[in-house]
Amino acid sequence: MGTTVLDAPPNMAALFARAALTARGRGGDLPDTRLARTGVTVEPGSLADYARVCRFPLSDTLPATYPHMLTFPLQMALMSDRAFPLALPGLVHVRNRIDAVRPIGSGETLDLEVWAERFASHRSGATVDLCASVSAGGAEVWRSRSTYLARGAKAPAGAPDSDVTVDVGDLGHPVATWRIPDDAGRRYAKVSGDVNPIHLSGLTAKAFGFKRAIAHGMWVKARVLAAVENRLPEAFTVDVGFRKPLFLPSTVTLATAATGGGWDAAVRNAKSGTEHLLATVRPL
């Protein structure tokens, strides 16, 4: 296992380009490479932009989904590397779990580390978990696990079964309706750097086989968290399963239920009821 420490966040657009160009001919097992950055600080302007786009109140602690903004570029670098067995275009984010170990001050200096693990078999392909750990002063304060599905791919022999299911209880009628405009993907791309073409426009999404642009899963997750932001435990796990794509524009509803000191939540299409996201929040 080797850890590479980067001096600066990698250029995401370049990573997407590299990943697309080198998509063919990948295979084999997961690399045990780890990518890291140290002494990372949050730029206040970026945090404000993120908070506005995701509807978090601007405060001096980071939204629980925010460290993902810091670790995601490293994960991208990992996945776009030739050594990564699955082709980045076509990977679908199906589950994301975040452990917010403690609130992180916006002024804290953070160390980041990302890696891939758990190459697993899924009924329609294979999944892989991209993990991240954020620490401050030597102690871990945040970690995440993003599960990606590669349709048609095959996990190595003896791989475990994928676990992509997030279950929620009875949620009752919706508590909120969100009208999601067609530029939601572009807005989130701007603050997150996730410029995956499937989120940016109908045209670019079509090139990747989607009928319309789709919303970033992590943005929907962030909005769910923002909706209960003032009623969260001090330390918690927020685990979401991404279900059907949320096409832009859409009107969706949020349903919530307070459960076990945390929350169950679902985001569904307001008309058809199609499930886009199921979430659980539990105290850690």
Binding site: G172, H173, A176, T177, W178, G273
Partner: protein, 435 residues
């Protein structure tokens, strides 16, 4: 009062009120601003009670939809009115509860002896509503304004895209739920199984009661015409169940699968423009001025509910506020001669009454041993309410306080009236008046 220090609390008197007829949105008052309407309303009150050049203790009013330039709306209106320019004023805002809350604030200062008289009011226009530029354009304009160099300015201007030009229109929707108030009310109506027909019946009665009140001259000393309008524009004296039955439900969007909406443009209040004002005073001040005391504001209470995650209906807060106020005053729900339940929607009034009648709800949600019980419908909204008059958000409280005070006065001494007003944000403001 034996002591010569601070006076013991006293009950504030309601001397009278004034309002302009309420107009449907984008109609007669289309060109009138909040300040125009509030000033005209205060001037009408001044004329009714001979307050020209008088300094009243304080003028408290507000608007729900407010332009940035109206940061000092009430004070500016006072300066434009016939009142003494040295009359202090301040703005309040508690959504549809603004008008009643303003009256409570004035009454409290009178009760504490801090002022001897005051005017409480409210105004709203949905015709001259404050349009905001979209967030993106607004940010660019702000940076343009603070740019120091030509280059910075050009840079800011270059960021403007045609799509940003479309203005943001204020919506009658709850920011946290994205649902229109009507959609919330429809959810509540569905939950409480409030039928279409009973809503329409309540609506017809509101129109008929108000039309009859106009006919018998009840509003002669409560309303002053404005811009050629002499009666509330929304009032339909010929309203009937048959006509209302023809209207399509409009707020059913958020209902669970298969459920059909029961709320229509008829049994919901339309967007309205208007203003109201109430003159309150100590009994002594009223006597010195030779002015009548119609009623006293005995007590008031606010409450709020968690309609976002708490599973309670957006407009159900008055249901919680009333029992608290009743308990404090040793009264039951039946101890009133008149009830004024603001008709934001017909279903709101019906759900409110149904909740008070429901033993399980009263026990679980309100923590009561027994339900508050039912009220005599013949004492409810006897001169019509918002369904007939319309509902310029902040102006409704003043309309109700003045009309109820007059009704109590006419009914004789010792009569008691209950006011219940629901407000956006899951709030409720309630009060007791007594003649």
């Amino acid at each position: 009062m034996a002591s010569n220090s601070k006076p013991a609390t006293r009950k504030a008197a309601i001397v009278g009120g004034n309002r302009i007829p309420f107009a449907r949105s984008n109609s007669t008052y289309g060109q009138a601003s909040n300040q125009d309407m509030l000033t005209a309303t205060i001037d009408g009150l001044v004329a009714r009670f001979g307050l020209q050049g008088e300094q009243v203790g304080e003028v408290v009013a507000g608007a729900v939809l407010k332009h940035a330039r109206d940061f000092n709306l009430t004070r500016e209106s006072v300066l434009g009115s016939r009142l003494d320019a040295s009359t202090p004023a301040y703005d309040v805002q508690q959504a549809c509860g603004t008008g009643l809350e303003a009256a409570i604030l004035v009454a409290n200062k009178i009760a504490l002896g801090q002022i001897e008289s005051g005017i409480a009011g409210g105004v709203d226009t949905t015709s001259d509503a404050p349009l905001a530029v979209g967030d993106d354009l607004r940010r660019i304009l702000i940076s343009l304004n603070s740019a120091k160099t030509l280059q910075d300015r050009l840079k800011a201007i270059a960021r403007i895209r045609p799509g940003m030009i479309a203005p943001e229109i204020p919506r009658n929707a709850e920011p946290r739920t994205g649902l229109a108030m009507g959609e919330h009310a429809q959810l509540t109506a569905h939950e409480w199984e409030i039928g279409r027909e009973e809503q329409d019946e309540l609506t017809v009665r509101s129109h008929q009661n108000m039309a009859a009140a106009y006919e018998r001259g009840f509003f002669d000393d409560l309303v002053t015409p404005f811009l050629g309008l002499t009666r509330d524009q929304n009032l339909r004296p010929d309203s009937s169940l048959e006509k209302l039955a023809k209207l399509k439900p409009v707020f059913g969007r958020a209902l669970p699968d298969g459920a059909e909406g029961t709320m229509t443009a008829g049994n919901s209040t339309p967007l309205t423009d208007g203003a109201s004002a109430v003159l309150l005073a100590s009994d002594e001040w009223a006597a010195e001025q030779g002015l009548p005391v119609l009623a006293h504001l005995v007590d008031a209470q606010t409450a709020a509910v968690d309609y976002v995650h708490g599973g309670e209906g957006l407009l159900m807060a008055p249901v919680y506020a009333v029992p608290k106020m009743l308990a404090r005053n040793g009264l039951t729900l039946q101890d009133f001669d008149f009830y004024e339940i603001h008709e934001a929607f017909a279903s709101t009034v019906l759900a409110t009454m149904k909740a008070w009648e429901d033993p399980a709800y009263c026990k679980e949600k309100l923590g009561l041993d027994a339900p508050l019980g039912s009220i005599d419908r013949s004492k409810l909204n006897v001169y019509g309410s918002s369904l007939a008059a319309g509902h310029p958000f902040a102006a409704t409280g003043g309309r109700i306080v003045a009309s109820l005070a007059k009704t109590l006065h006419q009914a004789g001494p010792g009569k008691r009236g209950l006011i219940s007003i629901c407000a956006a944000g899951g709030q409720g403001v309630v009060a007791i008046l007594e003649s």
